[in-house]
């Protein structure tokens, strides 16, 4: 899911703790801040810290002045050979090619297991919004090809498209049969998206509070941190990539449920909006001296069901009889949407 959805989910989880609301009424915002921060923390740890320290075995850095798809294909094949030879996990970095303040040379990497080769094609020049620049699609019509000695199995439907900002990292994990599993962004969710990580951070908080003899803050903060951290992990499990849930007791990412793409607009909006409604409900329950009274069902009807029905109805009406009028969402990239979201946010 997008960062803001995780953030608001964290705040919503925090609002279920009555201590958070009581503290807020006394002017103390700590638990809500903790909730939001922990909701977004797993991705923060990966994208803003860990990835800069993640060491790669092979760096593919195409020359922006003379982009050569063959050279790129050869380097990728070299990485595969390294993996075959040394029978170990190989970390391969595909660097982006910057041409200007707002221009990047896009290239696509494809592992063709049928032909036993890796192909590289340089595509259009794109701007920072990933929109192709007119007339640049065929600047480099050649396709680079290099033979590889093993199959590279993509269990995750990642499209290896390299364009803006930081290029992706690929992990080649050797299998027993000699082939390799391709892991997209191996450094992502390696340890940061573990439920155990949330518990660990909660324990750190509790210990810090205990140093100041703040018993209540210790356990309340622990519950808030662990809970809000966990909600991010659970939400990400609804997607495709999955997470390493019990690091360090487990080593590999558990595959996601494939229920949604993290960039799905409606899913993200519903997550945010329902979080807001839950927060509102929790605030209402513990607000002293309320003169207005309503039930949870009433709140959901007024806040979600009725406006949602009106929106849906209007949308149907506005696009009635003309299928083309319904502007589709730009297709969610099959690659990891966290990665794309990070690039888009930059």
């Amino acid at each position: 899911m997008k960062g803001f959805s995780h953030f608001m989910s964290g705040v919503a989880v925090a609002s279920f703790g009555p201590w958070a609301i009581e503290a807020a009424l006394r002017g103390n915002p700590t638990y809500f801040i903790l909730g939001g921060a922990c909701g977004i923390l797993p991705d923060t740890l990966d994208f803003k810290f860990y990835r800069f320290f993640y060491k790669h075995d092979v760096y593919v850095e195409p020359d922006p002045k003379h982009p050569d798809p063959q050279a790129v294909a050869d380097q990728i094949a070299r990485a595969v050979e390294m993996g075959i030879r040394e029978h170990r996990y190989i970390k391969l970095k595909l660097s982006s090619i910057r041409l200007g303040a707002d221009f990047w040379q896009q290239y696509l990497v494809n592992f063709d297991n049928e032909a036993g080769e890796v192909t590289v094609k340089f595509g259009s020049v794109v701007n920072t919004g990933q929109v192709p620049v007119e007339g640049t699609a065929d600047r480099y019509p050649e396709v680079g090809r290099a033979k590889i000695g093993a199959r590279v199995i993509q269990t995750y439907d990642a499209a290896l498209k390299v364009d803006i900002f930081d290029g992706p990292t690929i992990g080649l994990a050797p299998r027993d049969d000699g082939d390799f599993d391709l892991e997209f962004l191996p450094w992502h969710r390696e340890w940061s998206h573990a439920l155990t990580m949330g518990l660990f951070l909660g324990i750190l908080w509790a210990l810090a509070c205990l140093c100041f003899k703040a018993w209540d803050a210790a356990w309340q903060g622990f519950v808030t941190i662990a809970g809000c951290y966990a909600v991010h992990v659970v939400e990400d499990q609804l997607g495709h990539m999955g997470s390493n849930l019990f690091y360090p007791f487990t080593r590999k990412r558990t595959e996601g449920l494939h229920w949604m793409h993290s960039g799905d607009g409606m899913a993200n909006f519903l997550a945010v909006w329902i979080s807001c409604l839950l927060i509102f409900w929790n605030l209402y329950r513990l607000q002293p001296a309320m003169t207005y009274h309503f039930t949870f069902v009433h709140l959901m009807m007024v806040g979600l069901v009725i406006p949602g029905a009106i929106f849906w109805g209007l949308r149907k009406l506005l696009t009635w009889g003309d299928g083309k009028s319904q502007t589709p969402d730009a297709p969610a990239d099959d690659a990891d949407d966290d990665w794309n979201e990070m690039k888009a946010s930059s």
Binding site: P64, K65, G100, A101, F103, V125, E134, T291
Partner: protein, 524 residues
């Protein structure tokens, strides 16, 4: 890349965007990430960066010093302009009303008067605790000077206390009074008493009773009450448990069931004395004191033989007329009769005075409605919303004598007053219970009343109501169908005499209600 192959927008791209060594695009960096060569930048960009950093840091620091050391101007409340909104000013004046905590307990407010105007001052919870700690909670009559931020809008203005560093409070002199001289005439005043402890009675367990300290000074014995919060502020409470300890206390005098009640405002207002102090002499009222002083002056001047005794008396200084300024505009507010507040004055600001006769219940998002009636018999609804309710020191109660300032609203031809600022609701006392009203409930008014009939109004087919003008007063004469025996033909403009009708009130308007004992005769 040659100019011919330049990407859109890059045709005029500056060469400094590219590394001079390898020719690749590097952007605004000063070192090429590809080949490590130094990339020199356009002077304006480098200079702008340095200028920005210097302005943002050094400039900010200088601004901070300027702000920290600036002198806060002393202003007169009567001369405040709306453009001064958010301004930091210093006010020097007198505390007009005791500081009262908010219902939520998260702060307090008081009114300050500097002789040119009056304004409410808000204090935060932290400041309130600091004031209590230092025994500087403002009380009516204290001299005060403080820095505060102005908040001015069309309808209400207030000051927010800025900080404690420059807060100066000088307590109003509290007359030293013998315990034997204390009586109900001191009610509402603050006095200083000295006495020896006789007994200290703690509150009963699980009750909200106060502590009671009995003092005696040889002229009489009295009890001083204080709450656990004040007890906690006492310097040495154990001393009070010993009888015979001399103390000096500054107390507020109240009245309950015609008996004097003394309350200690703060534990720091009670001082344990090391030895017996001088007991003050018999109490003289301010007028008596002034007369005594004047007489002394006259005697002194006569003694100097410079003037005759008649010339020695100083003329009384005429007090400067005070203007009740409590908003951004310099508009004077005088109390008007409620009857003059009519629906056609909608939007105007008015000030009324009267007694609370009805307090409505809060329902949903409707405002609270209170009926205020003045001595002339006029009554009107006063309404206020939650934001005002939260700032009222105490909820309006039936019987309160108040002055109210607000904006006239109108609905269905009936006027009401919208109270928009809690400071404009000023309780001046408790009105004596009107004996007349009780009598009215028991029996119909025996006395007749003569007045001129106005236009009739149909009461949904069940009766008629006439406007009944009796002198300056106007009320409704309500006649239900078949209720008045021998009712003559009535019309607008007739002068009639009504006997045996009961006085009442409906929706803020006075009424004469007729019944089987009522007799109406046409006079002309």
């Amino acid at each position: 890349m040659s100019k011919k192959e330049a990407l859109p927008g890059h045709e005029t791209q500056s060469d400094e965007m590219n590394c001079p060594s390898c020719g690749r695009f590097v952007g605004a960096v000063t070192k090429c990430p590809y080949c490590g060569a130094k990339v020199s930048k356009r002077m304006s960009l480098t200079a702008t960066r340095w200028a920005a950093v210097l302005l943002a840091t050094v400039g900010l620091f200088l601004l901070y010093l300027m702000a920290k050391n600036r002198e806060i101007p002393v202003v007169q409340l009567g001369k405040i302009e709306p453009t001064w909104n958010f301004g930091l000013v210093r006010v020097e004046g007198t505390v007009a009303t005791d500081a009262r905590p908010f219902k939520s307990g998260r702060g307090m407010s008081f009114n300050v008067d500097d002789g040119t105007g009056r304004m409410v001052v808000f204090i935060t919870e932290r400041q309130m605790e600091a004031l209590k700690e230092r025994n500087l909670v403002p009380k009516a009559g204290d001299k005060i000077a403080f820095d505060a931020q102005l908040n001015i809008s069309d309808d209400k203005s207030n000051l927010k206390l800025s900080g404690m560093k420059t807060f100066v409070l000088e307590r109003a002199p509290a007359d030293a009074v013998r315990i034997g001289d204390l009586d109900v005439k001191f009610s509402g005043k603050t006095v200083t008493i000295v006495g020896q402890t006789v007994a200290l009675k703690p509150p009963a367990e699980n009750t909200n009773q106060p502590w009671k300290l009995t003092l005696s000074d040889g002229t009489g014995e009295t009890e001083v009450s204080f709450w656990p919060a004040e007890y906690a502020q006492l310097a040495n409470p154990a001393e009070l448990e010993r009888s015979g300890t001399w103390v000096r206390a500054r107390v507020d005098v109240g009245k309950y069931q015609n008996q004097v009640q003394l309350k200690l405002g703060s534990g720091k207002d009670l001082e344990i004395l090391p030895e017996a102090p001088e007991i003050p002499g018999p109490y003289l009222s301010p007028a008596e004191k002034a007369a005594e002083k004047a007489a002394e002056k006259v005697a002194a001047k006569v003694a100097e033989k410079k003037v005759k005794p008649a010339e020695a008396a100083e003329p009384a200084a005429a007090p400067a007329p005070k203007r009740d300024f409590s908003r951004g505009r310099l508009v004077s507010a005088e109390v008007e009769p409620i009857a003059s507040v009519t629906a056609d004055r909608k939007g105007q600001k008015v000030k009324i005075a009267g007694a609370v006769v009805f307090v409505g219940e809060k329902k949903g998002n409707q405002p609270v409605s209170v009926i205020v009636k003045d001595e002339a018999g006029g009554s009107i609804y006063v309404k206020y919303f939650d934001d005002v309710a939260a700032e009222l020191a105490a909820a309006p109660a039936k019987g309160d004598s108040v002055t109210v300032e607000g904006v006239v609203d109108a609905w269905n031809g009936k006027a009401s007053i919208l109270l928009q600022d809690a400071a404009k609701w000023v309780k001046v006392g408790k009105a004596p219970a009107p004996a007349r009203k009780a009598a009215a409930k028991k029996a119909p008014a025996a006395a007749g009343r003569t007045g001129v009939l106005g236009a009739p109004r149909d009461l949904a087919g069940k009766g008629v109501a006439y406007a009944f003008k009796e002198g300056d007063a106007e009320l409704d004469l309500v006649i239900w169908n078949d209720s008045v025996p021998g009712l003559p033909e009535l019309a607008e403009g007739m002068t009639v005499r009504v006997e045996g009708a009961r006085e009442g009130e409906y929706e803020g308007k006075a009424q004469l209600k007729t019944g089987k004992f009522t007799r109406i005769t046409v006079v002309e």
